[in-house]
Structures are given as C-alpha cells and as structure tokens.
Assembly symmetry: C2
C-alpha cells in the first residue's frame, strides 16, 4: 500500500538534503523549502484536508510529481513542515531566554524577552502559527504524536525559566508551572493572532507593551 515505485531515498539523497536550517541549499533543499512555503499558507487558509496537493505544487511552481519525489505523502510533507516550524520557534525562545540571562536580567525579564520573541515569530510566520493552533488540540490525527513532542519542546523552554524563577525565589513557589506556562503561551498566541488578524497596522512594540504589563501584574491599581 505504500510506495513501491523505486524508492528514491538513495544514499546521495542524504548528502544534498541537508538538515533543516542548512543555508546553502542543494537543488533538492530549495525545492523542499518552496513546498513548505506554499503548503503553510494554503493549509493555514483552508486547513489540511481542504488543501490539495495540486494546489501546493502549483503555488510552489513545481510539478505534482516533484512533491512525491521529495515527500512520501501529503501527510509527511505536513509533518515535516510542523517539525521545521516549531524547531525555529523553540530555538528563538531559547535564544531569547539565554540572551536575557547573559545580560544579567531577572527571570521576569527573561519571560518578557520570550514574549517578545514569540511575537516576533508570529509576526514573521503568522500562517504557520495559525496552522499550528488549528491542529494542536485535535485528536485522532496521524501526526498527533509529532505535534505533542514539538509542543513539549517549546513549552519546556518557558517552564524551565519559570522553574528557575521559583527556585531562586523571584517567583512565588505557589504557581503551577505547567499551567502558568500554558497560560502565558496562550496569552501571547491569542493576542498576537488577534493582532495580525484584526489590527495588523499596530506595532509590535505596542502589543508587547500591553502583554508585558499583564505579565508583571501592572493591570490592577491605577498607579
């Protein structure tokens, strides 16, 4: 039932298909990138099932056969896209946290830096974010396990900072780390998606300031 074609996945295939993130693309990698970009916007707009492989190929400016030369199936293309995107986000979050720590900032500063990193990511890849949110809590899907793994990787970065904050006494030891991390992610996610969807003209700084205020509990009390 699977591919019985001639199974391309040869040895040299591995050579040119460098790991995601590899800059200088072989022809292969460039094609994959184009397919990712085409797929992400289409699936974000229409959903996975409503998006046809023909559409993806057309938008990528590539023949349908090429899609199946590069990916075993539509699902596999999507799964690798998911891994690719969340990988970028996770790296970005980790980077923001580390940078803030190196700069001698507090843990709350680190959280704030991560909020900004999240906003920057969503600003740059709104379609991916949207697609991710749409799929995250869906059950009974082929890529559910993949999704859970990458989600955990991303959330873990936030949880780590929270945990360190608690250990050092900067944050209350009564907070629920897992839930608080979820809530923070949700705060950024929804605020940012609403921003891009309904008020795209606003500046990132503006949005960041509002979320920052909420994070630091400067909502109640009029000064």
């Amino acid at each position: 039932m699977t591919a019985h074609r001639t199974v391309p996945v040869t040895i040299r295939a591995m050579e040119s298909s460098n790991a995601p993130g590899g800059a200088g693309g072989g022809r292969r990698e460039a094609t994959r990138q184009k397919l990712y970009e085409a797929a992400v916007t289409l699936i974000a707009e229409q959903g996975f099932s409503a998006t046809t492989v023909d559409e993806i190929a057309e938008r990528a400016g590539v023949a349908k056969g090429t899609v199946y030369y590069n990916f075993a199936s539509k699902s596999v293309l999507f799964e690798e896209l998911l891994r690719h995107g969340v990988g970028l986000l996770t790296a970005s979050l980790r980077d923001a946290a580390d940078r803030s720590a190196e700069g001698g900032g507090s843990r709350v500063d680190a959280l704030d830096a991560m909020i900004r990193a999240g906003l920057v990511f969503i600003d740059r890849y709104p379609s991916f974010t949207q697609l991710y949110v749409a799929e995250l809590w869906r059950t009974n899907r082929a890529w559910q396990s993949t999704l859970m793994v990458v989600r955990q990787e991303a959330v873990a970065v936030v949880e780590k900072v929270l945990r360190e904050g608690v250990e050092e006494g900067e944050l209350s030891d009564e907070i629920d780390i897992g839930l608080t991390a979820s809530a923070l992610v949700g705060m950024v996610l929804v605020a940012a998606l609403d921003w891009k969807a309904f008020q795209p003209e606003r500046s990132l700084d503006d949005v960041h300031a509002a979320l920052s205020r909420l994070l630091q509990g400067r909502v109640g009390g009029n000064r």
Copy 2:
C-alpha cells in the same frame, strides 16, 4: 427542478417548526440538536473538510437526507452550530459578570468570575471550544464573517468589564482594553485546552486558582 410535490409551506407548517431556541422541542428541533452534537465532536476531531456529511448523519442516527432537510448545506450547519455555541458562551460570561456585580464584587472579581465561567464552559463543551479555536483565525472561508461577529460579541463582554474597571480607577488607565481582553481570553483558552487535552484529571478549581493568581499579578514575589 424545485419541489413539485404540492408545495407545502402552509400556515400550519409554522406551528411545528419552532424558531431556534424554542424550548419544548418539536421533532425538528430535536433532530437539529442531535446533528449539532454529532457535528461538533466530529469536526473538532477531524476538521470541517475531513468530516463528511455521511459521518455526521450516521453519528446522529439520522439519514443523510435529513441533514439536508434541516440545513441548506454542510457549511450552513456548521455556521449555525458556531452561532449556537458562542451564544451559550456569551450568555454565560455576561451572567457571571452580572452576578459578580450584583454580589458587590470588584471588577477584578468580575473578571475572575468570567474566567471561571470560561473554564466551566470549556469543561462542558471542550469539542466546541477546540473547533472554534481551530477556525477563528482562518481566512477566506465562507463563515468568516459570522465568526467575527460572534467573536466580537464574546470579547465585548470582557472589554466592557475592563472599561468599567478603568473608569472607576480600579484598573490602570494605561491598559489596552482590546489587547488585554484578547490576552485574557487566550490565557483561559489555551490553559483550559491544555488542561482537557493533557491533564484531564485535574480539578477545575485547581486550574482556576492558577489562572486567578496570574490575573491578579500574584506571580512575582515569593510572598
């Protein structure tokens, strides 16, 4: 090409097909309810496009034709489902806010009550919530305008309380009402969905407490 039966739609017809919301269900309304319930879980699990009308009919224990007898199309069924569900949520939020106000609580108390109402709603209708989140930011869809309208109704309830809080000096007048409302909604939404998806055994009070703490800025500082 239309009905050549004998063209029914008489006066008596209006009697049995009561308007949506009519309590004592006619046969019609009961069927629609069954279809809603079947559709909401299926679409939450698989997405709109991946869910077939045959599946919906089967799960509702009804023939396919009945679906089209009650709804003009698959899309219309979905749209009415959306309106129905968000209507419930909005009413619940408003109720929580009003109740809190009557009880002489502060605006923050009202927000807290709304957070709880949101959690209760998601606890009761996790599938609907999941489906709603998956569709909310999607563009180029037939029901996009419907979605925006109902979203605004729900968010407006939160915004109203925030605005009142600012006017009365209980909340900082520097907060961005729209963004803060989005962020609060996101906080509850994501925390609750993660709760139901990954730790369904936890109690609602537990989750509520964690979010409450975040709302009131009792995160920083190891009291």
